[in-house]
């Protein structure tokens, strides 16, 4: 690749939030000059203000990534930071751009602009009647984050044992009258995590969640919600007004009585407004002189679904929430995607075309899309079928429909697959060397079970109904019913499809009823589809559980009896001739084996890929192994396109490695006892065996976590940059020593050092690449220097990039403490602290 082509490029990134930082970091890694402009005095954006949601385990919110990104961006060569500066306009002249700054400084000239101006959290000033503007007990999610970060929530609730807390969803979203009729997409999930955190901190808390449609969607979201829902009160319907009361009942909400058809009042000590994500007010003005469409809500829009990062101007890319609400990790990935688009276009001309075989496991939608995308970009996909499709376009030459992959060995850039293919009788074994593996597993979509006693000719799947609508519309009877969540939680894709079909049927003047527990609107396009359906007369009847509907098949019609949520103690009868049910999506049976093959975990729902935020959306613990498709997340075809762009960005890295990979970890052959402990423990499958016995570290695959260093019984593995002795050299007698993971606790410690709360003399923070690097030996050696105490600090469980770093370190602490001769007052503590938990860490170091 032509490095010069990249070095000559300059990119202005507008916005120092997670999307902008991620873009800047990626660009700089490829030697592109970056101007990163941020209007506030610090990097980090909205995500940096959010509290860690971890309880005993990480909840994968992604907030802590902002600290890590800020750290790496601030120290990166090639990135010029412009803090306290706002881009007021972007001008285009003959293919290049200049960004005009306020306060006035020379305009920044660039070949490309990445707009990552983010969102602004809705401020509900004066919105909700009396209490909102003034009452201290009414706070927004942002203020709750602030209370949590500063560990002030308890004090705030004046130490009530079971404080009554209400969460009001959709505040500032889904409101046509106020011209913000979009779903902010992330607030339901944020509130669920907040509630989870609060219940963890205050087990007696009495939490009520008032919602419109709970968007329980995304990786493991259903499991998390399932664990939570029995411990809280869920009320469908969001009060719009908060009444002030007396000291005993400070805040009152009026809502429907869940048991009778009357209004009821509930009293609360704290009301949290789950505020929506709005467009950043400056964004629209900034692009005024350009030909970039802005939608009614002030978000940028290009009208090309799934085009992650693209705008209608080829030189301008859009990352993060500038074009609509998104979660943190999606914004991070989009930043990377935008950067990649620029890198790719700059390097295109000079691209060598040596073969680059990639194994694609799965021939469902995502598998096929992957194969197409990869071939278009000059990679050589090999598709291993799982029996989904057989009618593949001829352009895909390497398609093995009936294959069984028997083993996967190797590491990034050098995987070796062995597989069998061919008819049962003539099965043969083959092997494929490839440089990466993409697991494009798809959930199984099974026909919904029919335990309703309805004749099967009256029940159709969405697909079946769609094809009748296309081919034989006159076959369709007058009365239709859809049942959105009949088959359990529906997927994002099927609710989109259902809305489209119901609307089409209503436009044909059919009477269309949709039964649902909730509508997954999830985002801007989803809300639009839902609005369109209602406008066209589709009636949506809400139920609490599937038991709220009884069906009776009466020769020509189906008679439903529906306990609609607003009709307490009553039911309404609905007739229809057909019942249309979305398929049931379940993890496919082969996922288990597939995960095993690549030595990767499944998630808690049996889906592919761990939920670990360090590797999402598409990555894995293993370099060169990627995920896409419904098998690993609730994705629509548009989402798959964005995922593929991200995978391509990472394949590009494999194809054009930036710096010679040197993790700084080597096995000293002379000391090595060939016990293969390293092979067993390495969480990233980065140990190769040479000549059948000799282990060696594969630089391209190694994450430099240090677990092998800590575990090798022969002490044969050395970390060349930091030996044990170097690490502990600075420890002084009586000090508090903290071994801190560089991605979490060390960053947290930095924040308390930076703001002067903690000085070097009190505390010695020793950065380690991962908590798993902290070996028993290292701790014992440090104890020998007579510190006051030793704290081992790393990521929250589930947040460790190397999978088990936290539990390894916990084991070490436990073991050391159990040794005879460890003095009481010199014992060793384990603590977990995310990068955004400086305050919490300080509390451990210096308990007040």
């Amino acid at each position: 690749m032509n490095k010069h082509a990249l070095e000559e490029k300059t990119v202005v990134v507008v916005g120092g939030g997670v999307a902008g930082m991620s873009a800047a970091r990626h660009l700089a890694q490829h030697h592109i000059n970056v101007h990163l402009v941020e209007k506030s005095p610090t990097l980090g954006g909205n995500a940096s203000l959010w509290a860690c949601m971890a309880t005993d385990t990480c909840q994968n919110c992604g907030a802590c990534l902002s600290q890590e990104l800020a750290q790496s961006v601030a120290n990166k060569n090639g990135i010029s930071l412009h803090l306290n500066q706002q881009v007021t306009a972007i001008e285009k002249n003959e293919g290049s751009y200049s960004a005009i700054l306020d306060p006035d400084s020379p305009p920044l000239k660039a070949d490309h602009v990445i707009l990552a101006s983010g969102f602004s959290a809705f401020r509900p000033d004066g919105l909700l009647g009396q209490a909102c503007d003034a009452h201290p007990g009414v706070i927004t999610t942002n203020q709750l984050n602030h209370l949590l970060t500063n560990q002030n929530l308890d004090r705030f609730l004046t130490d009530k044992e079971s404080p009554r807390i209400a969460f009001l969803q959709c505040v500032g979203s889904r409101n046509r009258e106020k011209k913000r009729d979009f779903c902010s997409q992330v607030c339901c999930k944020i509130s669920l995590r907040h509630i989870n955190k609060i219940l963890h901190m205050i087990p007696g808390a009495d939490v009520t969640m008032f919602y419109m449609d709970l968007q329980v969607i995304g990786k493991e979201a259903r499991t998390e919600f399932g664990a939570l829902k029995d411990n809280i009160r869920l009320v469908q319907g969001v009060p719009a007004e908060i009444l002030k009361g007396n000291p005993d009942n400070p805040l009152t909400l009026i809502h429907e009585n869940p048991d009778s058809m009357a209004r009821a009042a509930s009293h609360f000590d704290l009301v949290v407004l789950s505020v929506g994500l709005h467009a950043q007010p400056g964004t629209a003005g900034m692009v005024q002189g350009l030909d970039l469409p802005v939608n009614d809500w002030g978000f940028l829009t290009n009208g090309i679904p799934g085009s992650s990062g693209q705008s209608s101007d080829p030189g301008i890319l859009v990352a993060g929430c500038a074009d609509g609400p998104k979660d943190i990790i999606t914004s991070v990935v989009e930043g990377e995607n935008c950067a990649h688009r620029i890198i790719q276009s700059a390097a295109e001309a000079s691209q060598p075309s040596d073969p680059f075989p990639v194994a694609v496991m799965g021939d469902g939608h995502a598998g096929i899309e992957t194969a197409h995308t990869l071939s278009a970009l000059g990679f050589d996909p090999w598709v291993f079928g799982q029996g989904h499709r057989r009618d593949l376009p001829a352009t895909l030459n390497n398609y093995i429909p009936d294959s069984r992959v028997v083993s996967v060995t190797g590491y990034a850039n050098q995987y070796l697959l062995t597989y069998t293919a061919g008819d049962e009788e003539k099965k043969k074994s083959f092997s494929l060397s490839c440089r990466a593996i993409i697991l494009a597993g798809e959930d199984q979509f099974l026909p919904a079970g029919n335990d309703l006693g309805i004749k099967s000719d009256k029940i159709l799947s969405l697909e079946g109904f769609a094809s009748t609508l296309d081919t034989d519309p006159e076959m369709i009877p007058d009365k239709l019913a859809f049942w959105q969540d009949f088959s359990g939680p529906e997927s994002k894709q099927s609710s989109r499809q259902l809305l489209l079909l119901a609307t089409r049927a209503a436009k044909l003047k059919k009477t269309v009823t949709v039964f649902m527990e909730k509508m997954l609107v999830h985002g801007m396009d989803g809300q639009r589809l839902y609005d369109e359906a209602r406008k066209n007369g589709v009636k949506f009847l809400r139920i609490n559980t599937p038991d709220d509907i009884q069906a009776a098949d009466q020769s020509d019609i189906i008679q439903f009896t529906v306990k609609e949520v607003s009709l307490k103690g009553m039911a309404v009868s609905v007739e229809s001739q057909w019942l249309i049910l979305p398929d049931r999506s379940v993890p496919d049976v082969y996922f288990d084996a597939l995960a095993d093959l690549v030595n990767e975990p499944l998630d808690r729902e049996g889906g592919l890929q761990s939920p670990n935020i360090r590797h999402r959306l598409t990555g894995s613990f293993r370099k060169g192994v990627f995920y896409t498709g419904t098998g690993h997340d609730d994705v629509t075809p548009d989402d798959v396109q964005a995922e593929l762009l991200n995978i391509c960005a990472r394949l590009w890295e494999l194809k054009h490695p930036q710096d010679p990979a040197d993790p700084g970890v080597v096995i000293n052959e002379k000391k090595c006892a060939k016990c293969l402990t390293c092979l067993r423990v390495c969480p990233h499958s980065a140990i190769r065996i040479n000549n059948g016995v000799k282990p060696a570290i594969v630089p391209e695959a190694c994450y430099a976590c240090g677990l092998c260093v800590a575990n090798c019984p022969a002490l044969a593995i050395e970390k060349t940059d930091h030996s044990d002795d170097e690490m502990i050299a600075a420890i002084q007698k009586g000090q508090c020593v903290v071994f801190a993971c560089q991605r979490s606790a060390a960053l947290a410690a930095k924040t308390v050092f930076e703001n002067g709360t903690l000085g070097d003399q009190d505390c010695q923070v020793i950065e380690v690449p991962c908590a798993c690097r902290i070996s028993t030996g290292l701790v014992l050696k440090s104890l020998a220097r007579g510190p006051e105490k030793v704290i081992l600090a790393g990521c929250h469980e589930g947040n460790c990039q190397s999978h088990k770093g936290s539990s390894e370190a916990q084991d070490v602490a436990r073991f050391v403490n159990s040794l005879p001769g460890i003095r009481e007052n010199q014992s060793v503590f384990w603590t977990s602290a995310a990068a955004n938990e400086g305050g919490q860490l300080l509390n451990i170091i210096q308990p007040s």
Binding site: R176, D181, F210, G237, R263, K535, G537, M570
Partner: protein, 402 residues
Amino acid sequence: MTLLSQVENPYIITRLDADQRGENLLECLSCGACTSACSWFDQEGGPVPRLIMRAALMGLDDLIVQSGALWDCLLCNRCTQNCPMGITMSQIIGQGRSHPDARDQIPEDIQKGVKTRLEVGDVNGLTKEEFVETVEWLAEEFVDEMDDPQATIPYDQEGSKFLYLPNPRELGINLLHLTAMAKLFYASKETWTLSSRHTDVTNWGYFINDEEVARKMALMVVEPAEELGIETLVLSECGHGYHVLKTLTEKLIGRKPGFDVISIPEFVMNYVDNGVIKLDPAIHPFKVAYHDPCNLARKSDLYDPPRKLLAHCCEEVVELSPNRENGICCGGGGGMLQDSSSKPKRMLTGKAKADQITAAGVTHVAAPCLSCHRQLGEISAHFKLNVAVDTIASMASKCLVL
């Protein structure tokens, strides 16, 4: 378990025009915002707004008709104020009230009033002769009071600039009020008149949502006013009268009336602004809380002129909280006050207002609506609030510097 059936072509939803603002019931999100904001607050009984919306949407008209909500609803649209889709409760309840099966629920007083108004022209049955007699007598008194032979209370004066449309109470139990209004016109130095052919600002056709009746009543005002050739119709302080004449008339009679419509506080405020009318605020040396009548404020967007005028008439205007578009109904809206049997109910619906007044810590409340005025007076007595209640125009009249 009661099983409800959806009827074919249900009355309520079928009569709504889905494309019309406020009537887009189909688009209800079932969000529940309406229920939380109902003027009944946590009192027993009363409407459950979302239930009404959902039932109407599902075609369960019977449920609505039988719920009693139709005449418990104050048509205050406080629920609507919070509706993210702008679906208007007064439209939905209105259709319910005109449902053939709900006709017998119309309160007796209202039925009687509608009948009398249509027959006689005045809701209290004041005949033309009685009107003339009353006004002429008042005019004589007025000359004495003003000590000015030019001072008049004219009626049927063609070509006057303004026509004043009184509330029936001003020609019945509250004659002094009419004189007070006459004083304001006198101070404006403009030509004005009453009309013997229409003496009544109210339109109870609105309460029963009978379009034919409402249209007739509107025409009873519009046609004679047009014949007199006036420029501007000045309405007595009446919430629903203003709402109908200002915002619904064009739709009801199918054309724009040939004159402007303003309320009397607006009229006075214009002349205070141009310096013709002078007011002495020291007449009321105390703070006065301003009450937003739902029909003027939320339903017709009239917020500031009456407030501004009140500020000229007392030491200081106190805002109740919440106010303006979020203001709380006095508890007598929707025809409830016009139904003499509704007092116990109105003391439930008035509770929130009473609390609000207590919280404001005032001794005086004023509202630019004679209905609100009466209800506020009753809740003040019932809840022992010890506040004096007045209307804005009447306070202005007392402050006139002539």
